[in-house]
């Protein structure tokens, strides 16, 4: 057990050190690099907390997509950054805020230490109520059956977020291709990576969704991988991002949640409640929802990364 404790302590210290770096370092780009490393360690911590589903999400979203998003932003903002440092609040204010933040941390730490033991939990209730859902992974059961409304609302939330990202576009660019992805110059290594990785990634993504019913994995993780592969192809310039006015793209974005609502509504007549599944059909329906939702979420996540429309000019004409 001691080795495990050493691993845990090392992880906790490293994560805290990196968080400190993210907060304190002067240049945003360095902070973001630290944040990506931080996300990586968080994924390992989730494994240590026996939350493999979460670890997968963190690995895919936290390091992968968030990393790309923030690195791109840091790079584009670097030219404006010089003025920032001088705008820090005065030393007295900083010390005061620091003290209060420390007080918050101490209070939370006390609360953590005083949490009730034995810990109350819904674990056994979930285990008892998993069979009717037909899935073997309790996390998937919770997400798609017991608390399906959260998952539904959450997949809906992504749409206003995407509209929010699009909304900063200039009027004439509206409906055009998204334009925030980094564009390194053509290089054989990148092209090779963008050709070799996606088939593999797509396989992994499908595996995660398919397996997510019974083993760790699921639509969010799978969708993130698919989105990452798509973005990689776009970055390498092998494909062009679609114009955002394309109707097929729009359909792809919303079809997942619509199917979810449709199946949920049919549950009113077939299973006695909105978002309930008829007995015996729960698993196929859940898999169907997961499959369609994966596509919609992957498209949305990818487009969130790709940024607001920047007009119809073909990308890569000058590089």
């Amino acid at each position: 057990m001691t080795n495990a404790l050493i691993v845990d302590a090392a992880l906790a210290l490293l994560v805290l050190g990196l968080a400190l770096w993210v907060i304190a370092t002067r240049a945003a780009y360095r902070a973001v690099v630290g944040f990506v490393a931080y996300g990586l360690l968080m994924a390992i911590i989730w494994v240590r907390l026996a939350a493999v589903d979460v670890a997968m999400t963190e690995a895919a979203l936290g390091t992968g997509l968030t990393g790309l998003l923030l690195l791109g932003a840091a790079a584009r903002l670097a030219p404006y950054e010089t003025a920032e440092f001088d705008r820090r609040p005065g030393r007295g204010l900083r010390v005061l805020i620091g003290l209060l933040c420390a007080a918050v941390t101490l209070g939370l730490a006390a609360v953590v230490l005083l949490l009730p033991a034995p810990a109350p939990s819904l674990a056994s209730l979930v285990a008892d109520n998993l069979p009717p859902t037909g899935v073997g992974n309790p996390v998937t059961g919770v997400l798609l059956a017991h608390r399906a409304i959260d998952t539904l609302l959450e997949s809906v939330v992504l749409l206003p977020a995407l509209i929010g990202v699009w909304s900063v576009a200039a009027n004439p660019a509206w409906g055009g291709r998204p334009g925030s992805l980094p564009r390194p110059p053509a290089s054989s290594a990148l092209t090779l990576l963008a050709q070799v990785l996606p088939p593999f990634g797509i396989l992994v993504g499908i595996h995660l969704v398919w397996n997510g019913a019974d083993d760790p994995g699921g639509k969010f993780q799978g969708a993130t991988v698919l989105a990452a592969m798509w973005i990689l192809v776009l970055i390498a310039g092998l494909r062009e991002a679609p114009a955002l006015r394309e109707r097929r793209l729009r359909v792809l974005l919303v079809v997942g949640a619509l199917v979810f609502i449709g199946i949920g509504a049919s549950g009113i007549w077939l299973a006695g409640a909105f978002l309930a599944y008829p007995e015996g059909y729960a698993k196929p329906l859940i898999l169907a929802i997961e499959a369609v939702l994966t596509l919609s979420i992957a498209a949305t996540l990818g487009l969130l990364l790709a940024g607001p429309p920047a007009g119809d000019r073909p990308i890569g004409t000058t590089s």
Binding site: I23, S121, A123, V126, A127
Partner: protein
């Protein structure tokens, strides 16, 4: 002190650190990073609660390691946090493009700029 508690304390510290960064770092991108730190501290606490909640089951020899409900909620929360980050980044990039500002002072005139430093950039847009 058992392992999950260690990570729980780590989560508490992350929340405090993130709060400090969110309030004291002037740059909006840094604030976004700090928000993500607070978020991950909160999720970490939730993960610790999930693991503690699994103790009952592990003792009974059932096949679940932790409480799956918090784990499911954390996954949802991570996706929401990503969406929040992407909106914030989009707004920030646009703000920087149109005005050269990356901080959040409001109506205040642009900070007195040093010679050679550019407070705003000419822009052909809109």
């Amino acid at each position: 002190m058992n392992d999950p508690t260690l990570f729980g304390l780590c989560g508490a510290a992350l929340v405090g650190l993130g709060l400090y960064g969110l309030l004291c770092q002037p740059g909006a991108l840094r604030k976004i990073l700090a928000f993500n730190l607070i978020g991950s501290g909160v999720f970490l606490l939730f993960g610790v609660i999930a693991l503690r909640g699994g103790g009952v089951l592990a003792a009974a020899g059932r096949g679940i390691d932790g409480d799956p409900v918090p784990q499911a909620l954390i996954i949802t929360g991570l996706v929401v946090a990503f969406a929040a980050t992407s909106i914030a980044v989009a707004l920030l990039l646009r703000l920087a493009e149109t005005s050269g500002r990356t901080t959040l002072e409001n109506e205040a005139p642009p900070a007195p700029s040093l010679p050679g430093e550019r407070a705003s950039r000419p822009d052909g847009e809109s």
